[in-house]
């Protein structure tokens, strides 16, 4: 009897990982599918199941000037953050992985860059808000973009550093032996080899910035509105039908970035 119970338990334990994966996929995708389904309802307060299918609320979202302005703002901030954050991340990765700086300096730089990972975001955001007021920068686009750059920096740095560490040093050494100066080596050897990581970093930083809420919430002031701020405001007033369609649009934008990035994951 005992042995049978044990055997059953063992077999169960063997299948457990597969079952957990299946349940997790259901857990992760059900809410997204439900929102997609509800967004097609014409009703102002949709019920499950929905009465009819209509794209009415998508039209409403895409003709809403507030939402479009927020969308353009988010896209703009996202593009600036993605390119700037990747350039800074490349510099950070080089310093941490390849530079001639003393070990201690490299480690300290890595820890300082990683700061937003282990300091609670609300503390970071509040601190930046107060510091910005203190130095007279106030609120608006510039503080938001700086905040976003700071927020994505650890992600871009460590993403690029992982790839940088795998690069074969002998390729650069060979190019140098053939007479290439540092700049040429960087432009013709290092950057092309890092290209997949750089592109992945651009896309991930874009998604992080496009979806960032809390830092923007503290730094935007009244003149800047991004999509997450707009959506959070709508959640509070319970504008459900509008929110469903807007949510689907926001998910599509980030999912496209994720899709492109995942095709880059196969290294050269």
């Amino acid at each position: 009897m005992v042995s049978r119970v044990t055997r059953l338990a063992e077999r169960g334990a063997g299948r457990l990982p597969g079952i957990v994966v299946a349940l997790t996929l259901v857990f992760l995708y059900t809410p997204v599918l439900v929102i997609g389904y509800l967004s097609l309802s014409p009703a102002g307060q949709p019920t499950i199941p929905i009465d009819a299918f209509s794209l009415r609320w998508y039209t409403a979202v895409l003709t809403d000037t507030r939402f479009i302005r927020a969308l353009l703002t988010s896209l703009g901030i996202g593009v600036v953050t993605a390119t700037g954050g990747t350039a800074l991340g490349l510099a950070g990765a080089y310093v941490i992985v390849r530079s001639q700086l003393p070990q201690l300096a490299r480690r300290s730089i890595a820890v300082i860059i990683a700061l937003p990972l282990f300091v609670p975001t609300v503390v970071v955001a509040f601190g930046i808000g107060r510091a910005s007021a203190l130095v007279g920068l106030g609120y608006g686009y510039l503080p938001v973009i700086l905040g976003h750059l700071f927020w994505v920096l650890p992600f871009t740095t460590f993403l690029i550093a992982a790839r940088y560490a795998e690069l074969d040093n002998r390729l650069s050494a060979a190019a140098r032996d053939l007479g290439a100066d540092d700049r040429t080596v960087f432009r013709t050897i290092t950057v092309p080899l890092l290209w997949p990581a750089l592109m992945a970093s651009v896309l991930f930083a874009f998604a992080l910035s496009f979806n960032e809420f809390l830092i923007t919430f503290f730094l935007a002031g009244s003149s800047v509105t991004t999509v997450p701020l707009e959506i959070f405001g709508k959640v509070r007033i319970g504008a459900t039908a509008f929110l469903n369609a807007a949510s689907v649009l926001v998910i599509v934008v980030s999912a496209v970035a994720a899709g492109v990035a995942s095709t880059l994951r196969r290294p050269v």
């Binding site: 063992e10 334990a13 990982p17 597969g18 957990v20 994966v21 997790t24 996929l25 809410p31 997204v32 929102i35 019920t47 499950i48 800074l88 510099a91 950070g92 080089y94 310093v95 530079s99 001639q100 700086l101 480690r107 730089i109 890595a110 300082i112 700061l115 282990f118 300091v119 609670p120 975001t121 609300v122 503390v123 970071v124 509040f126 601190g127 930046i128 107060r130 510091a131 905040g147 750059l149 700071f150 740095t157 460590f158 550093a161 992982a162 540092d182 998604a207 979806n211 809420f213 809390l214 999509v227 997450p228 959506i231 959640v235 509070r236 998910i251 980030s254 999912a255 994720a258 994951r265």
Partner: protein
């Protein structure tokens, strides 16, 4: 150091300058600003005394508790997932499996949390199914409590934990597991003696990445949590938005930060974990 290295080193400092300046200006300087504000006015400890009153002590402990609890749940769920993807999944499906499990990491957490309102609300999917199949007579209140908030948190942070842990799970040599099995070890023994110790750095890195953000979260408790249970972020946001009591909010932030770093503790300082984080 040889003379030839000096210009290289100078150049390296210049390269380090831009990311370092950003991290110092937006990471270190704001923390110093908060610290100065928390002590003032007049170098009194009044702000800190207020933070440690029972009212705010409750909010501090609740935030830390939520952080620890949700992180633990994420780790427990991420173990079987990463194990399956790294060692059981057929090779050609591995990338797809990894991408599908980590896709929500790219999506907006405000949107994703809002989606859960539709699942858990009185007229939502779960209640529809339970009432529709006759399992229940009337709808349950599933929303705006610790459970719904916990679900919202796990939903957002599980993909981060999976992605971080996957690196060390993939590096785990499957032959070790097979060898242990051949010698008669049970699944439980294999997990405790081989899988757990070898993936601990990954779990620690994952904890480092999600724990502070969960404990200091604002949007998820606002959307899915109970209005009665106050987390620290709401107190800080209130103080900030109402343009009052900056000193108190700063002191609160600082005590909270110390608690978070304290609970992260020595694990974050170990070189093994740092190496793991860098590789990630």
């Amino acid at each position: 150091m040889s003379v030839a290295n000096t210009p290289g080193r100078l150049r390296d400092w210049l390269v380090a300058g831009s990311p370092l300046l950003l991290a110092l200006a937006l990471g270190v300087f704001p923390l110093l600003t908060l610290f100065v504000e928390s002590i003032g006015p007049g170098l009194g400890g009044e702000n800190y005394a207020e933070v440690l009153s029972p009212l705010y002590r409750g909010a501090l402990l609740y935030s830390i508790g939520v952080g620890v609890g949700v992180t633990a749940v994420c780790l427990v769920v991420a173990y079987p997932i990463t194990y399956w993807i790294a060692h059981r999944c057929p090779d050609r499906y591995r990338l797809i499996a990894l991408v599908s499990v980590t896709l929500p990491l790219w999506l907006n957490y405000v949107v994703l949390n809002y989606a859960w309102v539709w699942i858990l609300a009185r007229g939502g999917v779960v209640n529809r199914i339970l009432v529709g199949t006759g399992l229940l007579d009337s709808s349950l209140d599933l929303l705006y409590n610790n459970i719904s908030m916990g679900i919202g948190f796990v939903y957002i942070y599980l993909p981060y934990v999976v992605l971080t842990m996957y690196v060390s799970m993939e590096r785990l040599d499957y032959q070790l597991i097979e060898a242990a099995r051949d010698l008669g070890a049970s699944d439980v023994r294999v997990f405790l003696d081989i899988v757990l110790p070898r993936t601990l750095p990954g779990a620690a890195a994952a904890t480092l990445i999600v724990y502070a953000r969960i404990a200091g979260a604002f949007a998820t408790p606002e959307i899915l949590g109970s209005p009665g249970n106050v987390m620290i972020a709401r107190l800080v946001v209130q103080a900030f938005r109402q343009y009052t009591n900056y000193g108190f909010a700063a002191a609160l932030s600082f005590v909270f930060l110390l608690l978070v770093l304290g609970t992260l503790g020595l694990g974050a300082l170990s070189p093994r974990v740092r190496r793991e984080l860098r590789q990630w």
